[in-house]
């Protein structure tokens, strides 16, 4: 995970993400925004899953799939 890149990402409360290195912008939903904020705060994927399980009415499998998918998307777009 590219923590330097993660640190410079501009993330607004609305879920709008701006990558100042590439100039690309993205929109994340509330769950994606939460995952991204936790990643920026230095949390590991397992910790993020725990936080989401506490906050959302979802199963462990659902949360795992969401977190993994979202992290893969971030990697795909060179955001982490």
């Amino acid at each position: 995970m590219d923590k330097d890149k993660l640190a410079v990402l501009a993330v607004s409360e609305s879920g709008f993400i701006f990558d100042p290195v590439t100039g690309h912008s993205y929109t994340a939903n509330a769950t994606g925004l939460k995952i991204l904020e936790l990643l920026k705060a230095g949390k590991e994927p397992d910790e993020i899953r725990s936080v989401l399980l506490d906050e959302y009415d979802s199963t462990e499998d659902e949360v795992s799939v969401d977190v993994n998918d979202f992290i893969e998307n971030l990697k795909k777009y060179f955001l982490i």
Partner: protein, 350 residues
């Protein structure tokens, strides 16, 4: 210190010149500047932008007589006492490179590349340039006939880019498309036509200005968000990409670049490697964008040339958006009469 700066490329049309942006940047710099527009046609819009261009003159074409070109500048200089000329068109740079010593003798300063620098950034020498500055260049072949084109597309495969010597670039997906674009570009711009391997990625531009001693006096990077059919930036966002900024500084240092420039690159999606597409030897049409973000390169260039203190920092914010738009002016036919009959506009207020 009152300065008079003459600027060309005031053709703010669909393929816009940088002149109007340069004048606007100068006017907003806080310097006391009189701006003179050097136009080649009575309908160049900059002639009529009298809020940023104080007076305009029609120039003889740079492809014509060198003597006539010099005489016209001397004639304008005798009335305007020009301190600096900022040349903003590719086609006139060769003549300015020739006559710069003559202009210097009469007190007109310019910051433009040497012939050797100009030669090195030629589109047909990209590989050499890329090696010099430590980036990649897409594979390309230069074509002057259909036989050359067929050979090039066989070699480079599809999709490929078919590019003009000066402007226009198209992505061709088949031999038929490549031939169509080849004919279209050749009819508009002549030869050679460049066929380039297609690299999947995003296009970025960096504007900068070199002092001729290997130092830059500011750089500013953007991602092109939308471009026109002629490949011109229409909307853009400022970015902070250190890899790109470092590559730009290597261009300035490696070539000891003198003057404004635009470094056009592509970042490959798969590898994020930098491919140089082109170096334009003058400020680009979007030169006002960095000025609006605190990197006023035309003003810094004028300050450098006239012995004033100037900034060299490149501290700007990423995430600033440039929105280009079209607009209309309503003028009187007598304004057109004045410039087309006398070759110059009236003084403001006359």
């Amino acid at each position: 210190m009152k300065l008079t700066v003459a600027v060309s490329g005031i053709n703010t049309i669909d393929n816009p010149g940088p002149g109007a942006g340069i004048c606007r940047a100068l006017k907003e710099s806080g310097m006391d500047v009189r701006t003179i527009g050097l136009a080649y046609d009575a309908l160049e819009p900059g002639i009529y932008l009298d809020h940023i261009i104080d007076k305009s003159y029609i120039m003889p074409y740079p492809s014509g007589s060198r003597e006539a070109f010099i005489e016209r500048i001397k004639d304008i200089h005798s009335r305007e006492s020009i301190d600096v000329i900022i040349s903003a068109l590719d086609a006139e740079l060769p003549i300015y490179m020739d006559i710069e010593p003559v202009l210097k003798d009469i007190g007109i300063k310019m910051l433009i590349p040497s012939k050797e620098m100009f030669r090195l950034r030629d589109k047909l020498r990209l590989k050499e340039l890329a090696e010099k500055i430590g980036v990649k260049a897409p594979e390309y072949m230069s074509c002057t006939s259909l036989a050359d084109l067929h050979n090039a597309v066989n070699e480079l495969g599809f999709p490929c880019m078919v590019k003009g010597p000066f402007y226009e670039a198209y992505k061709a997906n088949s031999p038929g498309e490549a031939e169509g674009y080849f004919g279209k570009i050749a009819a508009a711009w002549g030869y050679p036509i460049i066929v380039q391997k297609f690299i999947q990625g995003d296009e970025y531009d960096v504007i900068g200005c070199g002092d001729g001693n290997g130092n830059d006096i500011g750089v500013f990077a953007i991602r092109k968000m939308t471009i026109t059919k002629l490949g011109k930036v229409w909307n853009a966002v400022s970015i902070r990409n250190e890899k790109l900024i470092e590559a730009t500084k290597r261009v300035v240092k490696g070539l000891s670049w003198r003057g404004g420039f635009e470094f056009e690159v592509l970042l490959e999606d798969k590898t994020q490697e930098i491919y140089v597409l082109e170096i334009n030897p003058r400020f680009p049409a979007w030169v006002y964008f960095p000025a609006g973000c605190g990197i006023n390169l035309p003003a810094r260039m004028v300050q450098l040339l006239t012995g004033q203190d100037y900034d060299t920092h490149s501290d700007y914010k990423s995430g600033k958006l440039m929105i280009r738009y079209t607009n209309e002016l309503v003028k009187d036919i007598s304004d057109f009469e004045q410039i087309s009959t006398f070759g110059e506009t009236s003084e403001k207020g006359e």
